[in-house]
Amino acid sequence: MVMRQNVADGGVGIGARLPRKEDARFLRGRGEFVADIRLPGLLEIAFARSPLAHARIRGIEKPVGREGDVFTHADLTDVRPIRAVAGLPGFKPSAQGVLASEKVRHVGELVAMCLAATRAEAEDLAAATFIEFDELPVVADVRAACRPGAPLVHEEWGDNLLLETVAEGDLAELARTAPVKVSRSLKTARQCMSPLEGRGVVAQWREREGQLVLHSASQMPHIVRTGLAECLGLDEGRVRVISPDVGGGFGYKGILLPEEVCAAWAAMRLGRPVRWIEDRREQLTANANCREHHYELTAYADRDGRLLGLDCEAMVDAGAYSSYPFSAALEPAQVASILPGPYRFDHYRCRSLAVATNKPPILPYRGVARAGVCYAIEVLLDAVARAVGKEPYEVRLLNLVPPEAMPFDNITKKHFDSGDYPESVRRAVAAIGLDGIRARQAQRDLTGERIGVGFAVYNEQGAHGTSVYYGWGIPMVPGHEQASARLTPDGGLELRVGVHSHGQGLETSLAQVAHEVLGIAPAKVSLVHGDTALTPYSTGTWGSRCAVMAGGAVAAACRALGERAKKIGARLLQTDYASVRLAAGEIVGPAGSVGLAEIARVWYRAPQNLPDDVDPGGLDVTIGYKPQRDTGTFSYACHAALVSVDSEIGAVELIDYVVVEDGGRLINPMIVDGQILGGAAQGIGTALYEEMPFDAEGQPLASTLADYCLPGATEVPAIRILHMQTPSPYTEFGQKGIGESGAIGPPAAIACAVNDALKDLGVEIGELPITPRRILAALDEAERGGR
């Protein structure tokens, strides 16, 4: 059950649980997604993909008689490879040809593009395209990839080390003196992001505009445009990217795919519209890979459980290439910078390696590295708590940054803006009913019930901007976020933003922001987004940034628009500018008021009534916004999980789940609840179900959703959400980014709960997902160990 909140504003502005405007079409199945687009003469693309993880291409034979419908790298000579460069020292860039040329580096890599009237016929062509390979030895595991003499994914690198990130610190003294020392080896599985809608693209060349028009399921149409123009050698003005309704992104749609470049090239080459609609097998086996971390951790603490230092060796399996724009540097560099989480301690050392393997590129997934590092440090803190004989939550209270220290610069120079972290833990402890759970556990001998409780605390940097990203040196650095606000002649409001809404409910929440400023009813506010021709440039939707950045930009644009309306209104009220104010959609003067609709009518249709000194910019304002500090907002949460473990079959059932979340001031708490619930469902997948295994030859072993296990309605419990609302001191309304947050906590909370349930057996699970097989194997091992 979702907890209802009292909102300060009983209306439809900020704080209101306004039903989502976009749901009218989504819930009726009337959304318009890429695959719904029908164009005359549309050709379908299927790709011939590499069946091998590492091989040299000796030759490609196109199907006889259909050579003109099949294209290889030899045909795409004018296309540049995708290069996502990071400026971090030692980073090794990779050039990803959109179609493989000399060699293939992972199963599923594109080798030939096949076009036909239907997808089935295009797949027939792909099946009839014969690729001759010389097999090369495969590296499918990070540890093997680091051994001397390992096969090289990119020969020119000289090794497989993509990036080494080191947070320096000297822990030698602590290692000798710390009263408590706890070490753990932990691993998280490679996963596949699984939005309901996969990737898809429709490309066409429009002669009249002289433009390549690409409809793509994208979170960041402006970035795709830049990347496409670079690969195709086109002026950006020749490229228009439209992202229509999109069925979930989660990071997977924040990447320029080679498939998009190929489709764009084909549309221009053939002069016909073409489309590629990703199928589930392509998504699982070739594309949507994410999250594979290995940790060797040591915590040093005093006898109370106060953390003195943390030492970590981490490895991230980065796969074969760096994807555009984030590059494969994001995940490993994040590990080193965010592992300390919301905790305060004095000594830290972390070396994080990104290692290339013959697997698909690792992509940023909701929470990016956070789900992994939160799991790592929370499991470690539980181990500290056991070592000092305390409740895990007590150890967290001891180590969390206290509210009186806010704002706080942590050991990796992250600037925590605001919040009461310990209070979130106290509320979670009360809500989950810890005392009752401990009493139930004490009855285990009578009932046979094996339950466990786990807590996870984390904070999440969101909406971080220029000062954070320029240092990464990636092709995309967010600056001022812009929005346009335009009054229509009848007094409605059109907002234009460069971010994209694909589940976030921005058509509603940004209308609420505009209402808060201008007083125009949200129903009269329309949001234009997802089209590079119609919206201001933006890096798009990623990094939990829309509420803060687009919300701030819309507010700024609406304020500026209000100022212009005030000038016109003052004239119409025959008073001076200084004596009018904007309230509830009207310009109010000392002796009367005039509505925004009338002001719009005069500007557009009765300009004879305008003052001579009217702002010629009119009722159409584009303005940019940055928060007072661009180091990001830090939302935070404490998740509490109560599980029941069936030790006979290794099954884990979630009995109860509580999220205490602080996202600052909430624009629409109902949308925030939805974000948390959806994220938590994905986190449950990370904790218990989702895994993309590979064999030693780099073959992906889950090629359908029968093998890749996603949580469904029966696996997600009724999650209880408790909101705290500590405003960020730096943002427009005090809002914080929370879009990714829900996905971060569950792996840690659930793992800690399972370990709690098994602790009397001396069993701890150190690998995600916690499958029945892993639990049974650990129990077997413990039994064999003579316990």
Binding site: T118, A120, R281, E648, I649, C709, L776
Partner: protein, 257 residues
């Protein structure tokens, strides 16, 4: 994920369907809930698809003196909803409602499930435990095979090249009989990692345990004993063995409850 080209036939009689099968290279299409994905993944690429949907004789069911005969094209949903005769006192609908998801049950058929012989399919294990008989039609007429002997391995059955599973005959389960059926799966509706069915019918002197979701045909243990079960599971890896034993223990407990 689109099928390779195939010819499509929709015969009007069982004899015609058998004749098409005899030409070779053909696959039968019943509910298509397993075959459809396999075609789309190009895991099977038959020259011809013989769609049984036009054969009303495979959709008919009837009560028999000692049980019921269910046409091969009876869907899981029909059984779940009580729209097919049930001589088992409620066992059939209970099993049916646990098969995959409703959308699959709407189209998936009891005959298609048996003929596909996925080791993790419910009916293969359940109908073997109930002592049902498969009724098979071919050019030479009809033959009857106990469901317990129908599957010869994973995805392999006794069906000949040009034979069609036409119906199953399910015997009446006596009022005093006890039944237990347990599936262990990652999620409700997913393929089971282990399953066991138990029928204990003192009247007919039956004490039968069937273990499904193995790597081959279901394991049938008549006159159940722990020792025999242990022997049947000896070749399994320790975790699979553990799951099978748990399924059997729980099915026995359900039957005893």
């Amino acid at each position: 994920m689109k099928p390779a080209p195939f010819a499509y036939e929709r015969p009007g009689s069982l004899a015609e369907a058998c004749a098409l099968l005899a030409e070779g290279g053909a696959k039968l299409l019943a509910g298509g809930q397993s075959l459809g994905p396999m075609l789309n993944l190009r895991l099977v690429q038959p020259e011809m698809l013989v769609d049984l949907a036009g054969l009303d004789e495979l959709k008919a069911s009837e009560r028999l003196v000692d049980g019921a005969r269910l046409g091969a094209l009876v869907t899981h949903a029909q059984i779940e909803d009580g729209r097919a005769p049930d001589p088992t006192g409620g066992i059939l609908p209970r099993v049916a409602c646990g098969i995959a998801y409703r959308a699959i049950r709407n189209r998936g058929t009891v005959g298609g499930s048996l003929a596909h012989a996925d080791p993790a399919a419910d009916w293969l294990t359940v109908l073997a435990a109930l002592g049902a008989t498969a009724i098979v039609t071919g050019a030479d007429g009809e033959r009857r095979v106990p469901v317990a002997e129908f599957a010869t391995g994973a995805f392999e059955t006794v069906l000949g090249e040009a034979e069609i599973l036409a119906a199953v005959a399910i015997p009446t389960v006596a009022a005093g009989a006890r039944w237990g059926y347990v599936k262990i799966a990652r999620k409700p509706g997913e393929f089971a990692d282990a399953m066991a069915a138990v029928l204990r019918d003192p009247e007919r002197d039956v004490e039968r345990v069937v273990v499904g979701a193995t790597h081959g045909a279901p394991i049938i243990v008549e006159d159940f004993s722990e020792a025999v079960l242990a022997e049947s599971l000896a070749r399994f890896d320790p975790i699979a063995r553990r799951l099978c034993r748990a399924a059997v223990r729980r099915a026995l407990a359900e039957a005893d409850a």
